[in-house]
Point group: C5
Chain length 106, copies 5
């Protein structure tokens, strides 16, 4: 899985019928800054994921790819290869807190 | 999933029988411009996808990869790993409209 | 899926029993030339695919990856993740014919 | 599969219900140093995996990706695409021991 | 699939129970030299695969990735995403023999 920030969304009215009503978020994957190891860095990549957890723009989410994106009640019959399955509260690595949702942006 | 523009198509008359009658589009994936964040940029990659939604050349489509490309009525028995499952109307990110089909090219 | 040219083959006599009798081609994926957009360019990558369509060296084939490579009568029980499922006759994009099998090499 | 070092973890309280109680580790994949071939080098990539083996931070683990991440008793119904399925004791290649857990850090 | 040379192995005593007794090889994928097209070149990448064919270090093997790695009698219930399913005898491409096991190293 990967973690990424929800930066936007797409609208598609003409689509495969089973997809009606699904929220399609744009997610930019994040990785740990390789040198300083004290923060998360955007990767510049653009993924589209179905929201399976009720997330919102600006939040960092845990995303699953491949067939496993269908392993939730909401997504089990959908033609999707990526889903947001958790909202991230905090990330710690190398004995450092890299992200804490409760203090971000304050 | 990813979004990409349909730039062309391929013809293959000699193929696995189940594939007869399927439209094979060439799709170039798009990503958000990393610096300006105000437009979609082509990635230079070349994917072949089966059209599951009745799209046409020039349109931006939502594409699914892997086993999930088989999760539509039309594609469920096909040896394919990518399908267009939605025509994209609009894309917004970073509080900006990056693409709006209704105004493009006007 | 991707398109690629068959550039060679491999021989493996000691292998998993279900693989006996399968043709193993080397395929080099092709992409559209990013700048001129008027031809197909080799990517330099090396894939091994099972031939499910009766192709030959030098031909451009449509290749499927992942679990879907098993979705043909010939390949359904094989431990393979890539198969050639169609021989490409022509490729057109950006209103240009990038490849036409009937005129290539003449 | 790949091997990687567990460098941290993430917390997500609001998530798909089946994921409750799963440990989510951050893993940085390792590869063999290309030139010297005498040590393992971090790749700088950031993966999130479910712990299926009782590992701890700092350990090197064997990770599986894709649908196979669901092929353990603990993970079989989870929407995950990566799991740690073994703790690595030692790595040898090119007739050299590249890693030995029993002597590391002593 | 890809071909790669077995360069080493890993030991993991603490692992998911179904994995007990499986040989875990380190494999470095090979590709055709892009310029000269007369030899195989290591890619510098590090994959871990389960041996499903009785191979040994130094040999070049055919490797399968993804769910298909489970499509052998030996591996069908394992949490693995890569397996060696054939020992490569020879590789030819561009009308040249790039590898012949019977003459290598003599």
């Amino acid at each position: 899985m990967f973690i990424g920030r929800i930066t936007g969304s797409i609208v598609s009215t003409h689509k495969v019928e089973s997809m009606v009503g699904q929220t399609l978020f744009i997610v930019e994957p994040l990785r740990i800054d390789e040198k300083k190891k004290d923060s998360l860095k955007p990767t510049g990549r653009t993924f589209i994921v179905v929201d399976a957890v009720g997330a919102g723009e600006g939040e960092i989410v845990l995303c699953v790819q491949g067939s496993s994106a269908r392993f939730t009640d909401q997504t089990k019959t959908l033609p999707i290869d990526a889903a947001a399955v958790g909202i991230v509260d905090s990330v710690q690595a190398h004995d450092t807190v890299l992200y804490d949702k409760s203090t971000e942006g304050t």
